[in-house]
């Protein structure tokens, strides 16, 4: 159920946009990219203050109890500005796992996430970086009443800054999820990333003490929900980013004069912008559908299908608009100083993070029963 009206969501958008205008401009972004944590803690606190971090946290855990429809507003704005934040790791991935586990012990963590006090991350992928819900080589074993984790996780989004790690590991009762809050026997390594505005780490465990989240064997079902939530979230972000690229291209095409004409009057540029617009419209429809169906609104597409459709269409739109935006800008567009390449980097990174187009094609067909 959608808990908000359209005007309420527009209010939310305005407050997030105001924040980002203050904390998320080009200079702030460069500062964040260069900083130790990879994001601005002031922006994170401000996002918590306007309630942007607690939208999907259940009311029982001190959140607003809203859904993907509301979160989409925040994600579109984050995608529009590419303000570096640990939103994906903390609020989308880790919090969804905590909620989906149904474990009341997760509530204090969710409360701290909602208030901005805790950063969190989900450690799932291993060697090949591919999303999986079972067959983990990371193992958990009971050692005198304490679970201990051993193994290595690659590509943990926001893994280096996370206070709380949700870790998928094999147990005798099947793939299960664990919470790691201490830094004992945890080795984290910030990785060089394609996307300069999103941090990714590898995390290794060596007998690390952990708490079981939910019941043993629960991991596959919970991770399936996290996967879909991540696809829906990325889609919203991608629409924001794609629209930003379109807007930048249109503005430049109106401003830039070559051969005595605004370059936007040349059909090659005009039609390129029209193609970008068509992609943005399609992506926006797909992201909207995915969010509303994730919230179980009636008369919407099946949620699992809509999520995979959105991941396909929005990844394509983000990649296309980021590429063409650089082209419309010409030389200036491929300089390091111009933000255009950050959108290209984000687009490719988000397209590939969950396995890429090949994996998503099979995901969609499975959901369509083919």
């Amino acid at each position: 159920m959608t808990g908000t009206t359209v005007p309420e969501r527009e209010d939310l958008r305005r407050s997030v946009r105001d924040l980002l205008d203050r904390f998320g401009d080009d200079v702030a972004r460069q500062d964040a990219i260069g900083s130790e944590s990879g994001h601005s803690t002031r922006l994170w606190s401000a996002l918590a203050e306007v309630g942007a971090l607690s939208l999907t946290v259940p009311e029982a855990a001190g959140g607003a109890g809203y859904g993907a429809v509301e979160q989409r507003v925040v994600l579109e704005e984050l995608g529009r500005t590419l303000a570096p934040t640990p939103f994906l790791g903390t609020v989308v991935q880790a919090a969804t796992a905590l909620v989906a586990s149904g474990d009341p012990a997760a509530h204090p963590h969710l409360e701290r996430i909602a208030s901005g006090a805790t950063l969190a991350a989900l450690a799932v992928t291993e060697g090949d970086g591919r999303w999986r819900t079972a067959h983990f080589s990371t193992r958990a074993e009971l050692d005198g009443g304490t679970w201990r984790l051993t193994g290595a996780k690659d590509l943990v989004v926001d893994g280096a800054v996370a206070d709380l790690l949700v870790v998928a590991a094999a147990t005798e009762s099947g793939p299960s999820l664990f919470l790691v809050t201490s830094s004992e026997a945890v080795e984290r390594k910030e990785l060089r990333t394609l996307d300069l505005t999103r941090r990714i780490a590898s995390v290794a465990f060596d007998g690390t003490p952990a708490e079981l989240l939910g019941s043993p064997g629960d991991a596959p079902a919970v991770l399936d929900r996290v996967l879909d939530a991540t696809m829906v979230a990325l889609a919203a972000e991608q629409v924001g980013a794609a629209r930003a690229c379109l807007d930048a291209s249109v503005a430049y095409a109106k401003d830039r004069v070559q051969f005595g004409r605004q370059i936007g009057s040349f059909q090659a540029v005009k039609h390129r912008c029209a193609d970008m617009f068509a992609k943005v419209q399609l992506a926006s429809a797909a992201a909207q559908e995915a969010a509303h169906s994730a919230d179980r609104e009636p008369d919407r597409a099946p949620a699992d299908v809509a999520a995979a459709v959105a991941h396909s269409v929005c990844s394509e739109a983000a990649m296309f608009t980021a590429t063409e935006n650089i082209h419309v800008h010409g030389g200036i567009g491929f300089t390091w100083e111009h933000p255009a390449h950050l959108y290209f980097r984000r687009a490719k990174s988000s397209q590939m993070l969950l396995g890429g187009p090949a994996a998503n094609a099979e995901r969609l067909l499975a959901r369509l029963g083919v």
Binding site: L246, V250, A253, K254, R261, Q262, G264, S265, Q267, V269, K270, H271, C273, A274, D275, F277, A278, Q281, L282, A283, A285, A286, Q288, E289, P298, D299, A301, V305, A306, A308, V309, A310, S312, V313, P357, A358, N360, A361, E362, L364, L365, L368, G369, V370
Partner: protein, 430 residues
């Protein structure tokens, strides 16, 4: 599919929806969901354009007329029309609701009447016609008696529609019309046509056009079928030789025909987005294409699967876009640029699907070996080039999106201020 009806007097609309359901339950069967494909059963024709025998065409037109008559009698044939001329006087929202409910029933295709006549010409007559023209044509059109066609395009006025050269000159209390129209669908069935005519060649092209309603049975009107590359003759050429028209059949002002044309075209663009995947919908659906792949031994081929997935993702997203646009209208919103976008996507999706299917079929696409669902893809394949051209070429749609939606500057050096008589024309003349 039922629609959420928030924001717009729910009770009234719900009552209207219920009355529509009652009427349809009494007059037609519900469509059944086609999820299973029975390969090899029935006809395997996969077409975008009609290509019926003349007898079949007449039968289909008769069925369309009959169903229009039935729904008109029940008050659902012209929901938005003025009551004075036989309409129901309700809102566009009521109309959309009725359409979405009717789509759940198995009723005759009324495209031959509704796409051009009732959807585009009717509203234009309402907006610009004389009382005489309204009274004479509107009730007949919406009662299913009269079919109307659009006499706009000419050999030298395609993308550049305002360049029409068909001449209408004053003659007593009417006009004498000479010229040639082209790409006229349903002209062979039509009783009336709306023609754009050049009445003043001494002013810029947009300002010397007059719109006239032409009796298609009048002397001097000759309709010749125009065969398209896929084999059928969906369109016509219409030759107008000394056709005489009373001035009372003029729509709008003398030399003011361009704004009449815009009314018609606006209604065209609004209708395009809602057509879904059109006549080929079943053939390019997931179950049908999956069955085709299975039949041709490539259901497990990762390349074919990838293409199917990408195609279906884009098609489903297009359907979300169309459905959301409809929801937006139903809840009282203004039409957005979705229609132009939808038209571009629609033609791309069908084109990809047709080429994909041809590749899955393999060499049997080349000649008709009699295999079911193989050679039959050719008709759709051969229709795809037209989808990028009809109703505004891709280039024109992108100009519209670029200029009107995104606000990008027009090309310099346009001819909008040059008198028609001085305009440059193609050397070969067609």
């Amino acid at each position: 599919m039922s629609h959420r009806l928030a924001h717009t007097e729910p009770t009234d609309l719900e009552a209207f929806a219920q009355s529509a359901r009652d009427f349809l339950d009494a007059s037609a069967d519900r469509l059944e969901d086609e999820t299973e494909v029975e390969w090899g059963a029935g006809e395997d024709r996969i077409s975008y354009f009609g290509d019926e025998t003349p007898e079949d065409a007449t039968r289909l037109v008769d069925a369309a007329r009959a169903w229009q008559k039935t729904r008109y009698a029940a008050g659902f044939g012209w929901i938005t029309g003025p009551e004075k001329f036989g309409g129901r006087g309700l809102s566009a929202i009521h109309d959309l609701i009725y359409d979405s409910i009717e789509a759940e029933y198995d009723v005759p295709d009324t495209g031959v009447l509704s796409l051009i006549g009732l959807g585009m010409i009717g509203p234009t007559i309402v907006a610009h016609g004389s009382d005489k023209a309204k009274a004479e044509y509107l009730p007949g059109m919406y009662a299913g008696d009269l079919i109307a066609c659009q006499l706009f395009s000419e050999p030298n006025a395609g993308s550049d529609l305002a360049n029409v050269s068909t001449r209408a000159v004053r003659d007593g209390n009417g006009w004498r019309v000479n010229g040639q129209k082209v790409w006229t669908s349903v002209a062979q069935h039509a009783q009336v046509g709306l023609a754009l005519c050049r009445t003043n060649p001494d002013v810029p092209k947009h300002r010397g056009i007059t719109a006239l309603l032409i009796d298609m049975n009048a002397s001097g009107v000759e309709v010749r079928p125009l065969r398209q590359m896929s084999g059928g003759a969906e369109f016509n050429e219409v030759f107008l030789t000394d056709v005489w028209v009373y001035d009372s059949y003029r729509l709008g002002e003398v030399d003011g025909g361009w704004s009449v044309a815009l009314t018609t075209l606006m209604n065209e663009r609004a209708s395009v987005g809602s057509e879904g995947a059109g006549p080929a919908a079943r053939a390019i659906s997931t179950p049908f294409l999956a069955a085709l792949m299975g039949e041709n031994g490539c259901l497990d081929d990762s390349h074919a699967r990838r293409r199917l997935a990408e195609l279906q993702a884009d098609q489903l997203a297009t359907s979300y876009l169309n459905r959301q646009a409809l929801d937006h209208l139903i809840s009282g919103g203004q039409p957005g640029p979705e229609a132009s976008v939808s038209k571009l996507l629609y033609s791309q999706n069908i084109t990809r699907a047709a080429h994909f299917a041809a590749e899955v079929v393999g060499p049997r696409i080349v000649a008709d070996t009699g295999a079911w669902g193989a050679f039959s893809w050719n008709e759709l394949l051969l229709s795809t080039p037209a989808l990028r051209i009809l109703g505004g070429t891709e280039d024109i749609m992108k100009n519209i999106l670029g200029e009107r939606v995104l606000g990008l500057p027009k090309e310099p050096g346009g001819d909008a201020a040059t008198p028609y008589r001085e305009l440059r024309t193609s050397r070969s003349g067609s």
